[in-house]
Symmetry: C2
Subunit: 165 residues, 2 copies
């Protein structure tokens, strides 16, 4: 990947989540229309997707210095759902544009917390598709900073029925 | 359970989370010292623990009418962690008091989303201990309202090393 194509949530307009239809853009984690939400953004990076996110300092776990596991699960969920939608669009050959991104819901999520995640650190989430079969997509997500892997997740997403399989 | 002992987060002072030591009371999900947090509360109900919680209306999923899966995972995580701590205290015969509740961290969480969860509904979380072995406790949690089961979780918690096993 060329240095100038480095994914960066601050200056790009092609986040997966920005292409969700309006009625599906209210997610607290990633909806562009949820004013109180986290508004996470995910982008293609080859066959992977990447998201960079710096959680607010009040998302602490029990201890003040450690990030809350619930926010890690939330980031994994939304980033993975974006990956599922983008992967389905790519499979179908859809040229994504505002409103035409396929819509998926989470059927299951599993998160392994591998190391305490410090607060105040920008996290990098990377996802890959493990399985894509009709309406069901299994996504693997890692949460890291530099060389430290803090958590990993595996999620099952199911495409909504009003979409083409 | 007698009607007058019905768990209720609004009028009881014996929530598991209120007994965490101060340095472990900053959790966004359940810390009494996190001013921006959810402050969920869990209580014994026989051999189960129960938590009732009405999420704020901005914790929406993609659609405005559906609760965000990330908040469901967060509730399951914190309620289950409280159950792990209380179950360990009960096993050790500890009379819990402010500051002496055992401390656990989440090693893994799995959530199955079984039905769309509406916003504006008070949820009931119920937990039971599946396995307790030294520092490791496996907890099962259900999320429901009335007779409708919306989600279930299974979590692995590990007691911090500065505690007695």
């Amino acid at each position: 990947m060329a240095e100038d194509s480095r994914p960066d949530s601050t200056d790009r307009a092609d986040a997966f989540q920005d292409f969700y239809p309006d009625d599906y853009a209210h997610c607290f984690g990633c909806g562009r229309l949820n004013e109180k939400g986290l508004k996470i953004k995910s982008y293609w990076d080859g066959d992977e997707a990447v998201c960079r996110f710096l959680p607010k300092d009040y998302y602490t776990g029990g201890m003040k210095t450690i990030l809350y596991g619930g926010i890690i699960a939330s980031l994994i969920d939304c980033h993975g759902a974006g990956m599922a939608a983008a992967a389905k669009a790519r499979e179908l050959g859809i040229q994504v544009a505002p409103g035409n991104m396929p819509r998926f819901v989470t059927a299951a999520i599993k998160v392994d917390y591998l190391a305490p995640t410090p607060v105040g650190v920008e996290l990098e989430l990377r996802s890959s598709v493990k399985e894509i079969k009709g309406r069901k997509i299994v996504v693997h997500v890692t949460v890291s900073s530099g060389v430290t892997l803090f958590a990993q997740g595996e999620e099952i997403y199911v495409q909504l029925r009003d979409e083409k399989p």
